[in-house]
Amino acid sequence: MDFQRTRAGQSAPQGLSRRSVLKGAAAMGLAASGLPLLSSVARAATEEPSADLVNAAKAEGTLTFYHTTAIDLTANWTANFTKKYGIPTQNVRGPSYPLWERWLTEERVGQHVADAIQITDTVLIEAAHAEGLIADYTPASGAGIRPGMKKEGVWYTAFVNAMGYAWNSQRVSPEEDKLLRSAKWDVLTDPRWSGRFATSTPASGGSSYSYVYMFLGGKRSMFGPDFVTKQAALNAQIYESKSPMYDRLAAGEFALVDQASQSDMGGLYLKGAPIRWVFPDPTPANLTVQTISAKATHPNAARLFQEWAMSHEGQAAWFALAGVASAREDTVDPRKVAKSDWYKEDWYKDPADLYIDYLSDPGYVDPAKPIIGEWNQIFGRS
C-alpha cells in the first residue's frame, strides 16, 4: 500500500513509455507557449493515476465515502467513478461536525469504516492529521488544484461554495427586489425584514461557520458585532441546518435568507423556484475538502477516488450536477460559457471578491471556535 502511495502520490518515474514522454513534452511545450487551455488538457493527461493503483483499487472492490453533500447528487457523482473504474461506493451522508465526530470515534477504537471523507472544515482535518489519523497522500491530480485550496498530502478541495444572500421574488415588493439586487451586505440589517428573515447557526457546520467567521472574525473591522446585532434584531428564524431553510425560502415562508450557496440556490432555480441570489463583496466562500483515512480498509480505492475527484474529469462531473466553483483553474461550468440557466438572468453576477484567505487565521483555526459563542450570545441562544 505504501508502495502505491509513493508511486502515485509523488509522481515518481514509473513505467515511462514513449506515449507518456511525448505527453509530458507536449504539456511542457504548450505551457511554455502560453496556451492555458491546451496546457491544462496536457496536464490532465499527466495526472492519470498509475495502472498499479487502479489495479490495486479494483482488487479492493469497494469504497466507503463519508460526505456532507446532498444524498442523490453525491450518489450520481460517485456513480461516474464507479462507471469508470467498476468500484462501487458506499456513501454515508451527515452534517460536518457529527459526521466527523463519528469518524474520529470509529478510528480511535479501530472501527475503520470510512475510506475517504469530505467535509467543510479544514481545522478538524488538520487536528486529526496531528493525531495521525489522516493518510499522507498527494494525488497527482492535486497538482491542478489552486494553491491555497489544498494542504499537500493532507486535504484537497473538492469544490468551492460562495455564499451570499437569496430572496423569494414572490415575497418581496419591486422596490425591495431592486434593493436586494444592489448586492450590499447592509441590506441584511434593514428592519423591513423583521420576521421575514431566516439564518442558520454557525454551529451547524463548516460552511455556516466560515460565513459567520467573515462577519465576526476575519472582517470584524468592517462588520463586527454591530452588524450581527442588527441582524439579530430582525427576529430571525434560526435553523440548525441550512438546507431546510432553503426549502422554506422556496416555499415562501421567508422573504430573505443569508448563507445562500451557489449550488443550493442553483438547484432550486432549476426546479422552477422563485429564487434570486447575489454575492455582495466581500463574498465568504467555503471549501469542501477531501481527505483519506490513515487506516482505511480500502486505501487504494480511496486514493484512486481522490485522484478522480480532484481531476478535471471528476470536477466536471460535479459541475454537471451542481453549480459551484471548481478548485481547479481548468474546470469551468459549461453553463457559464453558454450563458444558460441563471447565468442568463439580469440579476445574476458571479462573486467578484471571494473571501477565502482565512484558513490560517489564528481565530479561524482555534478549535474552541469562539465565534460560535459570540454569535449565540448576540442571538440570545444559550
Binding site: 477504537v109 454557525p202 440548525e240 422554506r248 415562508e253
Partner: protein, 579 residues
C-alpha cells in the same frame, strides 16, 4: 389484546405448579435472564450515566472525570427551564390525548355509532404514519406564511394572518396530541371492552342516565386504564424528539430530547452534555413509568370478563350521532387525510410551493427515489429489521413473562423492573448508550446493532402486553393439563402459549410498527450498510429535500399497511377489537 379471559377466578388446586416452581426456583434461569437484560438494557443505561461525568467521549484521549455537564444541566436556568417546559408540555399532551382517546373509545365501544370497524381502524390508523413524517406533513400544511392551509385561507377567505401555525409551542403540542391519541384509545378501549356491562345495566335499571352512568360506573372502573394510558403517553412524549425537531427545534418549544440531539449534532459536539440531559430525562421518565406500572397492574385486576354470555346495550346517540361521527371524522382528517394529501402533494412537485395553482408538477422525485441505491438498500434493511426485531423481542418477552409470572423465578420483581427500564429511556438517549456499548463489537455498523437497539427498546411493550395476557389466563386450565399428566413444556406449549397467542401476535404487530417507524436511535446508529427508511427520510429532510422525504414516508406507510394486512389476513392478528 383481543383475547381477554376470566381473570377473577384464580382459586383452585395449586398442586400442578407447586413442584414445578420449586424445581425452577433455582438460580440458573434468573441469572441467565438477568445477564441478558444487563447486556441489553443496563449496560447502555450505565454508559449514559458514566458518559455524563466525563469531559469528552469514552475514546477521547483528553477526556477526564468531570462533573461540569451534570452541574450545568441540573443547576442552571436554561436546562431547568427546558425541563419544566418538557414536563409541562408532556403532561398537557397526555391530558389532551387521553381526553380525545377516552371520548373516541367510549363512542366506539359503548354507543350505537355506525360502522364501528371502520371507525376503529380510522382512529388507530395514525399509528401507520411515522410521527416524524406526520410532523413534516403538518409543516407543509400549517407553517405560518407558506402552509398550504394558511395560503388557501388567504386566497379563498381573505385571511390576513395564519389561521393555524404549527411552528409555535401550541402547534407542536397539538401535533404531538394527534399522534398519541391512538395509544390512549387502545388502552381505554381494551378496558371498556373488558368491563362487565351488567354494572352499567344495573345503573340504568336504577334510573341513572347515560352521563351519570358514564361518570359513576364506567369511568371509575376504567380509571386505572386511563391513568395507565396517561402516564404511558407522558413517558413517550417526554422522550419525543422527531416532532419538535421537525417543527422548528428548540425555537418553537424547548424540548429535552431535541437538546440532546443538538448536543450531538452541532459544534462543539458534547456527548457529556447529551448524556447529562439524558440522565435527567431518565429520572423524569422513571417516575412516569412507576405510575404507569402501578396503574396498569391495577387495571389488569379490574378486568371483569365473565364466562356468561351477555348482550351489550349500546347507548343510543340519536341526534348526536352526526356530531359523534363528525368528531371521529375530524380526528381522522387531521391525523391522516390532510397529512397524506400534503405528502402526496410535495411528492409530485419539483419544489415545495405554497401555491397549489402555481406548483410545478413532476414525477422526477419518484424516479430519483426509485433509482437511488441507498433507498433500495434501506428498504431491504427496513424489511429485514421489521421481521427480525419484533420476533426476537416477542420471544424474549414471552420468556421473561413466563419465568416471572408462571415459574415465579427468584428475583422476578427485579427482572420485571429492569425489563420496564427502557420505557424510561428516550430513544435518542438509549441509542447513544447502545452506540457506546457495541462500538467495539462486530455488530457495529450492521443491521444487528439496530435489531439489538429495537429489541431492547421495545421489550417493555411486548413484555407488558404478554404479561397482561398471562395474568388473564385462568391457571386452572394449565393445572388441569398438568393433572392429566402433560409435561411442563407440553402444558406451556399446548395450553399457555396457545391461549396467549392473540396477545403475542398483537404485540408482534405493535413492535413491527415501532420498528418500521423508529427514528431517534436509528439516526445515531446508522452507518453505510444499515440505513433504514426512517433515517433516509431524516437525511433527505435535513438536506432540504422535502419531496424525497415525503416519498420515503409514504413508502414506510406502504410497508406498515402491507405488514398489517398480511398479519390480519394470514395470521388473523388484530390490533383492534372491531377492526
Amino acid at each position: 389484546m383481543s383475547t381477554i379471559v376470566q381473570a377473577a377466578a384464580q382459586s383452585g388446586p395449586r398442586t400442578g405448579f407447586a413442584p414445578l416452581r420449586r424445581r425452577r426456583r433455582g438460580f440458573v434461569l434468573p441469572i441467565v435472564l438477568g445477564l441478558i437484560l444487563t447486556i441489553l438494557v443496563l449496560v447502555p443505561i450505565l454508559l449514559m450515566f458514566i458518559g455524563a461525568v466525563r469531559s469528552g467521549t469514552f475514546v477521547d484521549p483528553h477526556s477526564t472525570f468531570s462533573l461540569r455537564s451534570l452541574q450545568a444541566v441540573y443547576t442552571t436556568w436554561p436546562y431547568l427551564r427546558t425541563l419544566g417546559i418538557t414536563v409541562g408540555a408532556s403532561l398537557l399532551v397526555s391530558l389532551l390525548a387521553c381526553v380525545v382517546g377516552i371520548a373516541l373509545a367510549w363512542l366506539i365501544a359503548r354507543t350505537d355509532i355506525p360502522a364501528k370497524g371502520l371507525m376503529e381502524n380510522s382512529v388507530i390508523a395514525p399509528l401507520y404514519l411515522s410521527p416524524f413524517v406526520g410532523a413534516l406533513a403538518w409543516l407543509i400544511l400549517a407553517s405560518p406564511r407558506a402552509g398550504l392551509l394558511n395560503v388557501l385561507a388567504h386566497q379563498f377567505f381573505g385571511a390576513t394572518g395564519p389561521i393555524i401555525n404549527v411552528t409555535t409551542s401550541t402547534g407542536v403540542i397539538l401535533i404531538m396530541v394527534l399522534y398519541n391519541v391512538p395509544y390512549a384509545y387502545m388502552t381505554v378501549s381494551a378496558a371498556l371492552r373488558g368491563m362487565d356491562p351488567s354494572m352499567e345495566e344495573a345503573s340504568y335499571l336504577s334510573g341513572a342516565g347515560v352521563v351519570r352512568t358514564a361518570l359513576k360506573i364506567t369511568f371509575p372502573v376504567v380509571r386505572p386504564a386511563i391513568v395507565s394510558a396517561f402516564f404511558f403517553v407522558f413517558v413517550l412524549t417526554c422522550g419525543t424528539f422527531s416532532i419538535p425537531a421537525a417543527l422548528g427545534g428548540t425555537q418553537a418549544l424547548p424540548f429535552m430530547a431535541v437538546d440532546i440531539y443538538h448536543a450531538t449534532a452541532t459544534y462543539p459536539i458534547d456527548y457529556s452534555r447529551a448524556a447529562s440531559i439524558g440522565t435527567m430525562l431518565f429520572w423524569i421518565s422513571l417516575i412516569g413509568v412507576a405510575f404507569y406500572r402501578f396503574a396498569s397492574q391495577v387495571a389488569t385486576r379490574f378486568v371483569t370478563v365473565t364466562a356468561r354470555g351477555y348482550r351489550m346495550r349500546f347507548v343510543k346517540l340519536r341526534g348526536l350521532r352526526v356530531v359523534s361521527v363528525g368528531l371521529i371524522a375530524a380526528y381522522v382528517v387531521l391525523a391522516i387525510i390532510l397529512p397524506y394529501l400534503a405528502l402526496f402533494y410535495v411528492a409530485f412537485t419539483s419544489f415545495t410551493s405554497s401555491s397549489i395553482a402555481a406548483a410545478s408538477w413532476t414525477l422526477d422525485n419518484f424516479k430519483a427515489v426509485a433509482g437511488s441505491v441507498a433507498v433500495s438498500q434501506s428498504i431491504v434493511n427496513t424489511l429485514i429489521i421489521a421481521v427480525i426485531a419484533p420476533t426476537l423481542c416477542i420471544m424474549f418477552a414471552v420468556w421473561i413473562a413466563y419465568a416471572i409470572r408462571r415459574l415465579k423465578v427468584r428475583g422476578g420483581g427485579i427482572l420485571d423492573y429492569i425489563t420496564m427500564f427502557p420505557i424510561a429511556v428516550p430513544g435518542i438517549v438509549f441509542g447513544t448508550g447502545i452506540f457506546w456499548t457495541y462500538l467495539m463489537t462486530p455488530a457495529y455498523g450492521t443491521i444487528w446493532i439496530l435489531i439489538i437497539a429495537f429489541v431492547a427498546s421495545y421489550v417493555p411493550f411486548a413484555y407488558r402486553m404478554i404479561d397482561t395476557s398471562l395474568i388473564q389466563i385462568d391457571k386452572s386450565l394449565e393445572e388441569a393439563s398438568a393433572l392429566c399428566g402433560a409435561s411442563h413444556w407440553r402444558t406451556a406449549w399446548q395450553v399457555t402459549f396457545r391461549l396467549i397467542r392473540p396477545g403475542v401476535l398483537s404485540a408482534w404487530i405493535l413492535i413491527f410498527i415501532f420498528s418500521v417507524r423508529e427514528i431517534s436511535a436509528a439516526i445515531l446508529l446508522s452507518s453505510a450498510s444499515n440505513k433504514v427508511l426512517s433515517v433516509m427520510s431524516w437525511d433527505y429532510l435535513e438536506f432540504g429535500n422535502v419531496q424525497n422525504a415525503a416519498i420515503i414516508g409514504l413508502l414506510q406507510t406502504a410497508i406498515l399497511v402491507l405488514g398489517i394486512l398480511a398479519g390480519r389476513y394470514v395470521l388473523r392478528i388484530k390490533l383492534s377489537q372491531n377492526g
